[in-house]
Symmetry: C2
Subunit: 362 residues, 2 copies
C-alpha cells in the first residue's frame, strides 16, 4: 500500500529511483530523511538505545546529509511488522532480529542465533569473512530488503526457573516460555513451551501459568524484575550463545543511495555492532552483580544429561527444518561448516585462556 | 624537524591550523591527503592489510574527500619510530601497537595487552564504555597524539618451544624470546628472556640462540615458518589474552579536521577494529588446522605450577612498575577494577557456554 512512500520521505521527489545516476551526484548537498521502525520500545535498554546509536552514527558520518527518525514498536507499525513494513516501503529502515521472521522464511532464524552454535566473535567472522552476510543478502533480497548486523547481545542466559533442575526427569511437563526453534528442541525432551510476549512474562510466572521463562540476559531481565518471581537463574544459553541484532533497509531505497552514503550506512552498522557487543558485556556484568548480591539470585547450570538431550534434540529439529527448504539448507551448511573450522581456535585460544584465568584465580 | 609537514600534505596551504574555523566549512569540497606510517611490512597479514583496510574505509566514508597513503615499516620511518614521527608531524597518522612505546611512557603498555588481563570483548567494553579510551587520550595527548583502537589480534599463543615443559623446573635458564612486561614476569620465574626482532626468530631458534619464542598466533606464526624449528606450540597467551592494534593521529592534524571527517576517522576505526577481530578469528583457525594436520605440530598447555608462578610474578612486575608513575597507576587501577567487574559475566556467559559446547561435543 505504502510501498513507494520512501520516495517522498527520502526527499528525492518524483524522479525517484529511475533518476538514481543523477541523485548520486546531486544528493551530496541534499538531506535524506528516513524512518526507522523497530521491534523495541523506544529507548529500550541496549536494543532501543542501540537503534538510536545507529541512527546517530549515520547522521554524524554523513555530516547531517542523512537523518534517521527512530520509532519505537507500535509508533508507526507494531513490533512484529517491521520486516513487512520495510520491505513494502512504509519505512525505509528497520531495527529488529531476524528470527522473528521465520514464518516468512525458515532461513531467517540462522541470522540471529543457532542452538549450540557460534559465539559472538565466531559469528562475526562468519558474517564478514565466511560468506554469511552474502547469504543473508540473498535470503532477504527475496523480500526487497538489505540486511546488516548492527549489534549482538553476546551469550544470553538459559532462563529463570522457579524450581531447581536436578535431572532430565525434572524437565518433564515443565511449562517454559521459550519461542522458536529452541522451544521446539525443548519440546523434544518433554518440556511444554509457550511463546508469550516479553511484557507478560512476569505475571505468567507469578500466577503459575509458567514454571520458567527465558528472556535475554541480566541487563534486560533485571529491568523486567523477573528475579522477583523466580529465584534460580540458569546459565548459559545453549539456545542463544550469541544473538545478532539486525538493521534492514528497503532495497529500492538502498539502491537509490549514492555510494558514499551506502558506505555511511554500512560502516555505521559495523561500528554499532561493536558498540552493542561492548555495552552488553558491561551492562550484563553490572546487572548480574545486582541480581546476585542485592537480590540473592541463585545461579545454576543445567545438569549434563539435560544439556546432552537438548543437543541431540536441537540437531534433530534443525535437520528436519532445513531438509525441505533449499536456501535454509545452504545457510545451515555454511554456518555449521564455518563453526567446525573456527571453533577449533576458540578452544585453543580464548577458551584455554579463560581456563587459565580460572586456574590462577585472576 | 618535519613537525609541520602535515600542513602541506593536508592540502591546507599556508593558513594551516590557525585557520581551522575556515577549514571546517571550506574543506568539505577539498581533498585531504594524509600519510600513514606503520610498524608492519607493507601488506603484512592482518596487521599491514589491517592498515590498508582502515585507510580504505576512511576514503569510502568520506566520498573520496580524504585519502590515506599507507607506508610499510621503513618506507618513510622505521617500524619503531612511528610514535615519534606522528607526534612530530612527519606523518599525520600511524598504525602500530602501544606497547612499543613503553620507553616513552609506562602507561602505554596497558593499551595493548596486560598479563592475565581482559579478553577482546572485555577490553573493548573498557575502551568504549569503561573510560579506557579517555585515559588513552590523556596519556597520548602528552605526545601530541590522538589514539584509536583499530583492531585486536584476539587471544594469542604462548609460544614455540623446542622441548616440552613438565614443571616450573623445566623453565629454569630457558632462553626465551619474549619482550616487554611479560618478559620481565618470565625473568621472575627463572627464564632468561631476550628481545630480538621478529624476522630473526627463525634463525635464532635454529642455531640454538633461543630455546623458545613467542610471536603472535597461528596466522602470523605459520607465515614465519616457526613450526620448522620448534615442534611444541604452547597455548594460551597468559601474556596477551587480547592485543589492541592502534592508530594514532597527529593532534594538530586531528584538531584541524571538520567534525564530519572526525566522525569518519573515528567510525572507520571502530569498523576496522571489528573487522580485524573477525579476520584473526578465521585466519588463526585456518592456520592452526594447517599447523596441526599438515605439519604435525603438538599443542601443549603450561603446567599449573608454571601458570600460577607466572601470575604471581606478573602482579609483582605490574605493581612495581605503576608504583612510581602516577598516570600508569590510574590506568592500571581503571583496568583492573573494570576487569574484576566485567569478567564475572564472561564466566557466567561465554565461558560457561564454551564448557557446555565441550561437554556435549558440539
Amino acid at each position: 500500500m505504502q510501498r513507494r512512500r520512501f520516495l517522498k520521505s527520502a526527499g528525492l521527489g518524483a524522479a525517484g529511483v529511475a533518476a538514481a545516476p543523477f541523485i548520486s551526484t546531486a544528493s551530496a548537498q541534499q538531506t535524506i530523511t528516513w524512518d526507522m521502525v523497530t521491534s523495541w520500545p523506544k529507548n529500550f535498554p541496549a536494543l532501543g538505545t542501540g537503534a538510536n546509536d545507529f541512527a546517530a552514527r549515520i547522521e554524524r558520518l554523513s555530516g547531517g546529509r542523512m537523518k534517521i527518525r527512530v520509532h519505537g514498536a507500535g509508533e508507526l507499525v507494531p513490533a512484529l511488522e517491521v520486516f513487512d513494513a520495510v520491505g513494502e516501503g512504509t519505512a525505509e529502515m528497520g531495527h529488529s532480529a531476524s528470527y522473528y521472521w521465520r514464518g516468512k522464511t525458515l532461513a531467517a532464524q540462522f541470522f540471529t542465533a543457532v542452538p549450540f552454535g557460534m559465539t559472538t566473535t565466531e559469528t562475526n567472522a562468519w558474517l564478514y569473512y565466511g560468506g554469511g552476510h552474502e547469504l543473508w543478502d540473498e535470503v532477504y533480497a527475496q523480500f526487497n530488503l538489505k540486511p546488516f548486523p548492527v549489534g549482538n547481545t553476546g551469550t544470553q542466559m538459559a532462563g529463570w526457573f522457579k524450581k531447581e533442575i536436578h535431572s532430565l526427569e525434572d524437565m518433564q511437563g515443565l511449562k517454559l516460555r521459550l519461542p522458536g526453534l529452541a522451544g521446539e528442541a525443548m519440546n523434544g525432551i518433554g518440556v511444554t513451551t509457550m511463546n508469550i510476549p516479553g511484557s507478560e512474562i512476569f505475571t505468567s510466572l507469578q500466577t503459575g501459568v509458567l514454571d520458567a521463562a527465558d528472556w535475554v540476559g541480566p541487563y534486560n531481565d533485571l529491568a523486567f524484575g523477573l528475579h522477583q518471581v523466580a529465584n534460580y537463574y540458569y546459565t548459559s544459553a545453549w539456545n542463544e550463545p550469541s544473538a545478532i541484532i539486525e538493521a534492514t533497509v528497503n532495497l529500492d531505497a538502498w539502491n537509490a543511495l549514492p555510494d558514499d552514503l551506502k558506505a555511511v550506512v554500512s560502516e555505521a552498522a559495523m561500528a554499532s555492532n561493536l558498540a552493542m557487543i561492548s555495552e552488553f558485556a558491561l551492562r550484563n556484568a553490572e546487572a548480574l552483580e545486582t541480581l546476585v548480591n542485592e537480590h540473592g539470585v541463585e545461579l545454576r547450570r543445567f545438569p549434563d544429561d539435560v544439556l546432552k538431550a537438548l543437543y541431540v534434540s536441537s540437531q534433530q529439529v534443525l535437520e528436519r527444518q532445513v531438509a525441505a527448504d533449499e536456501i535454509s539448507r545452504r545457510v545451515y551448511d555454511s554456518y555449521t561448516a564455518f563453526q567446525r573450522k573456527v571453533q577449533r581456535f576458540t578452544e585453543v585460544g580464548e577458551f584455554a585462556y579463560l581456563k587459565t584465568r580460572e586456574k590462577v584465580g585472576a
